[in-house]
Symmetry: C2
Subunit: 378 residues, 2 copies
Amino acid sequence: MKFELLTSDGKARAGVLETAHGFIETPAFMPVGTQGSVKAIEQRELIEVGAQIILGNTYHLYLRPGTDIIQAAGGLHRFIGWNKPILTDSGGYQVFSLNELRKIDEEGVTFKSHLDGSAHLFTPESVVQIQRQLGSDIMMVLDECAPYPSDLEYARRSNALTLRWADRCKSAFDAGKELYGHSQALFGIVQGSIFPEVRQNSARDLVKIGFDGYAIGGLAVGEPAEVMYAIVEVCEALLPVDKPRYLMGVGTPINLIEAVARGVDMFDCVLPTRNGRNANIFGRTGSINLRNAKFKTDFSPPDPDCSCYTCSNFSRAYLCHLFHVKEILGLQLATIHNLSFYLWLMRETRTAIKEHRFGEWRRKMVNQLRSEDQVVAT
Amino acid sequence: MKFELLTSDGKARAGVLETAHGFIETPAFMPVGTQGSVKAIEQRELIEVGAQIILGNTYHLYLRPGTDIIQAAGGLHRFIGWNKPILTDSGGYQVFSLNELRKIDEEGVTFKSHLDGSAHLFTPESVVQIQRQLGSDIMMVLDECAPYPSDLEYARRSNALTLRWADRCKSAFDAGKELYGHSQALFGIVQGSIFPEVRQNSARDLVKIGFDGYAIGGLAVGEPAEVMYAIVEVCEALLPVDKPRYLMGVGTPINLIEAVARGVDMFDCVLPTRNGRNANIFGRTGSINLRNAKFKTDFSPPDPDCSCYTCSNFSRAYLCHLFHVKEILGLQLATIHNLSFYLWLMRETRTAIKEHRFGEWRRKMVNQLRSEDQVVAT
């Protein structure tokens, strides 16, 4: 994997990430394809809305359909019919968020499937092996995402374990080999809750191990946005300029712009897809909920300045109707628009950086996006 | 509306129906867009799979979003973003199938909404007016679809009422005017349960009134397929050659071919869409259910001879996975394929008729379609 930083404008960066399955222009937003499908949108439509990379969840894919089936298909790209880059997480986050009975020790994390209660063990080595079988372009290390709030002592201990796991992941990665003839990259994950000291140790030690890119994990888990931004700044100061930075699980359109302003290159979040399925439409002047009765006779496009399939062909009134009568098409059209909006936002942000007018763009967009209808981040 | 019969091959017919919103090549299959959306498929995809006309249900659209909203949008075509032909039914069928408490009298049918219990009256005149407001290219008369089984006496009385209603519909149609500047057509509906004598009276009297086309209603309601075919033959013998014949609510791929062989030009049915959402995939050699565990590692296309988006890009194993994990994309891909299959079947049938080899085509296809996995018609 190769990352080239093209331009900076303040801390904001425009770059290109080259993977075996193609280029990713940064800042980049990655739609979330949890179970091998970005919910309610077709693969060709992901390309249409401008997605250059999607995310797959190792935890879910490991349980269903199972790593063996994906390997038999020739890897995740072939199994799901997506020939562009894929990033897979390590599965750790889902183990911690979906399993109340998981047990963490030095070896790894033992958990029970949320589906059938069967027992499983994820270790740093096994999640690298699973991601080899998935064949993702970018693999993530196993980490513990500390709950929020955590105390300093917990954050220190947790991060120390996460660092030992990161080291083992790197060793397993170096000792292993790709299965499908295309190279894979491995990203480390900075943890440390909201404690600058722990975050700094985490970033420094990960950089010593050496990864193809660095994620900032454990944020957007309940802390105030300002705390999140402050922690991003702490991490950014210690991460190498020549490697991509990925802020995991973030966020609202404003979160994305603010994180780009602090040097982040990559994002993933279920917000555009999940909110879309709840009739929440992101727009250039804030967001609206199309279930609201006032839209029943509003024949204007969902987002009047958008040129996506949905906004070019259908009205708020029609989408309002589709949501009220529970037609699947409502989920499809809202998803197409929301992802179009997120990917448009990243493209425009990138252009603004390249033209050295990011500061102005940031002020204008953040202002516009703060409408009275603004949906609260989930 | 203009109908031109291009070729006949035995009783089978190839024609062209011209409406204000474009041509429909017959034999034609009309995907069902109950509530202003063909379930789980986008309008542009309907065009892609070859749909030249879709059906809307007056009963559902009248209740939600309501005729006033559709009129405010400028008619159903504009409301749903579909610029090709639309046929609307009269609402009668849903009143009879969804309402246990409806009351029929000479005036019309009084029913309670299945949504909120509110009382409504459909009369021959009001359903014509509603369909004027919807602006469909082809409108249907109000009829009573006699339950199956009905006795002869009931069928006679019911049909006599249906004929008086048909006459009133025609008068209301002639006295009224289109609202959106495009002309609309009105089809009569032959009823009479499974009694040839009643069906003959129905057909004769409808032809005397004079309609733009003739539907055969009240079939595929539980009677054996052979009885249905026999009744189609009885009706066909009395319907004018120069008008389109539409067999309502039918059916399986074999039903379609057999009805074409008996002179039918148009069909609608929820089978391809509804079965698709249940993982039932129609194919050139019968149908399969992709929830079956044997497809978990079957990496061949859903229908190997199909060139639709689904079959060109995805495997049975992937669709099997999508259905097992309840991903919306499974519904989308199955719907795209099943409609592609139905519309392919109609195109191929049309070509066979034009090339005067329909008999051979019919034998070959019916034989192929009778595989051991054949899904029973619903």
